[in-house]
């Protein structure tokens, strides 16, 4: 059973804000998804390799060669919150 508390915790881990009616709806929805997973769990997959990637490619490397980086100005174009060449964020205290 997925409780509202479960949904709230997952939402907070994912930094998602949910309205009450959404929490209720999602609890039911997640329940359905987990039911389906339970169905899958019954299958015998002992002889199947886990699929971490859909494509049959391997070993795609890059040589250790320097390429130009963005300028500080260009890097900071993606934010309005900047100071002293840095991205400015709400104060983080550990």
């Amino acid at each position: 059973m997925i409780s509202k508390e479960n949904v709230k915790q997952v939402a907070s881990l994912s930094r998602i804000h949910l309205k009450d009616e959404e929490i209720e709806f999602l609890a039911k929805d997640l329940e359905k998804i987990l039911d389906y997973i339970k169905k899958l769990e019954k299958l015998d997959i002992s002889s199947v390799e886990p699929t971490s990637h859909a494509l049959p490619t391997k070993d795609v490397f890059r040589e250790d060669v320097v390429k130009p980086s963005l300028s500080q100005k260009d890097a900071l174009k993606i934010t309005q919150n900047k100071e002293k060449g840095s991205f400015k964020v709400p104060k983080i205290i550990e």
Binding site: F61, S69, S86, K91
Partner: protein, 477 residues
């Protein structure tokens, strides 16, 4: 009173010194203006894709082999998900269940002289995060993403260390091995080597591990040792007062010399690891491993054994020489030019190391070639310089980069060995110290040393002490 034992495991984050970052072509370097070494991959911009730097794999395998690990034949990367402003993608590309290396060990020498094996649980590759600075005045933090994507090797030990001293010795041994490999500069001040420690205590004889605390924020090996010592005491006091140690992260405060609990998180971390879909798996063939094995340099333990045998060094001397790769190289260069390796060791372990300490330099940055040192030693052998003056000459050589011959000539430091000059000095001394002279005449040989000392004083160390002694004997017998 209960008797306790300490259990310590260490996690070391090592920045690998490849030219570029782990997943993009940005320069992997330190000390640049903020946000001048980034690209769409570093900043986690939509549509950008990471591509694995082959050199990082090589360095990782090298380190794994040097730590006696088994290298995995297939490796993959996983996403470790968490939200923090130093992590632009909100996940760190790391390795979860298929690390590049596992089940290794390194040997340390304990204080009692016995060797102890510290097992390496695993070593995995991952990307470093950005750097946050917190201004005390303002209500914001600043982020510099230059460090994002710096290749890291995280080396995790088993809980095999049973004292802060052993943890310190492990770190020294680890650092030395890694420096020999040339895969990282291992500079804690620059953050290229960082270490967290897990520590717990238990009653002697207990086999179950106690509840551990994770210590962070130590900026030197010495700080790690001091923090661990503090923590041993703290945990013992907690247990003895009848309470239980709680599992938590504690920060080392270097000014107050205490560990401070970080506010415990209300929710346990759930990193929701899953395979990184943007990077394909990588295979490491036996041939690749063998090829890399061939490039491994002579490691400290092997070098210690070889140098001890080849040059007949004492254990003490050999250990000091091997404790620094460039020092070992310097020693061997000298040994090729000069047979008496014991004398070379005495010079290196004495004057040269103290000069290095005073100047906060490494031997490779010091103004001294192996040939110049050997020439200086030969001047002492030949009686041109006394040991004492030779030390001064070394100092001047390091200041000026000149060789011993020019320093001796310019400063007029050559030892006085000329008989007539020395006889004059002895005559003066005998007049000034009649009592002592009489004692010598009466056969008190030990008093000769006093006069030799006076002679050295008079000539500011330039008199040849052996000859002075002979002349005193001759004159007074």
């Amino acid at each position: 009173m209960k008797e306790f034992e300490t259990v310590i495991g260490l996690e070391v984050h090592l920045q690998l010194s490849t030219k570029t970052k782990i997943f993009c072509g940005c320069k992997n370097d330190f000390g640049y203006d903020p946000n001048t070494l980034t690209c769409p991959v570093c900043l986690g911009l939509p549509g950008s894709l990471p591509v694995f730097n082959k050199k990082v794999l090589t360095y990782g395998i090298k380190a794994g082999l040097a730590l006696n690990c088994t290298i995995s034949s297939t490796i993959k990367f996983d996403r470790k998900n968490y939200y923090y402003p130093d992590l632009p993608k909100a996940y760190q590309i790391s390795q979860f269940d298929m690390p590049i290396a596992k089940d290794g060990y390194i040997m340390i020498t304990k204080e009692d002289g016995n060797d102890k094996k510290i097992r390496i649980h695993r070593a995995h590759l991952e990307e470093d995060a950005g750097k946050l600075t917190h201004d005390t005045e303002s209500s914001s933090s600043l982020v510099d993403y230059n460090r994002t994507g710096t290749p890291l090797l995280e080396i995790v030990t088993e809980p095999d260390m049973s004292s802060p001293q052993e943890a310190y010795d492990y770190l020294q041994a680890l650092k030395l091995n890694l420096q020999y490999l040339d895969v990282s500069d291992c500079d804690m001040e620059k953050g290229s080597l960082r270490c967290d420690a897990n520590i717990s205590i238990r009653e002697k004889g207990e086999t179950k591990l106690g509840t551990k605390a994770e210590l962070k924020n130590m900026n030197s090996f010495k700080a790690i040792k001091t923090a661990l010592e503090y923590e041993v005491k703290r945990q013992q006091e907690v247990v003895e007062s009848g309470s239980a140690v709680i599992q938590e992260t504690r920060l080392w405060d270097e000014n107050k010399n205490v560990t401070i609990s970080m506010r415990s998180k209300e929710e346990a971390h759930d990193y929701r690891y899953f395979p990184e879909p943007d990077l394909v798996p990588f295979t490491v063939s036996k041939d690749t491993i063998d090829d890399i094995k061939k490039t491994l340099p002579e490691l400290p333990a092997q070098k210690l054994e070889r140098l001890s045998k080849e040059y007949d060094l004492s254990d003490y001397n050999a250990k000091i020489i091997v404790s620094d790769k460039s020092l070992a190289l310097f020693f061997e260069e000298c040994a090729k030019l000069y047979k008496d390796t014991k004398k070379i060791c005495n010079w290196i372990n004495g004057s040269i190391l103290s000069e290095l300490n005073n100047r906060k330099e490494t031997i490779s940055n010091l103004n001294l070639s192996s040939k110049n040192l050997v020439d200086l030693i030969k001047k002492v052998d030949g009686g041109i310089l006394s040991n004492l003056i030779a030390k001064d000459v070394l100092g001047i050589m390091l200041d000026t980069g000149k060789n011993a011959t020019s320093v001796v000539e310019e400063k007029g430091l050559a030892q006085v060995s000329d008989d007539s000059e020395l006889e004059k000095i002895v005559d003066e001394l005998i007049k000034e110290n009649e009592n002592v002279a009489n004692q010598i005449k009466e056969g008190k040989e030990s008093a000769i040393g006093f006069l030799v000392g006076q002679a050295m004083k008079k000539t500011k160390g330039k008199a040849n002490p052996k000859k002075i002694g002979e002349i005193i004997k001759r004159t007074l017998s």
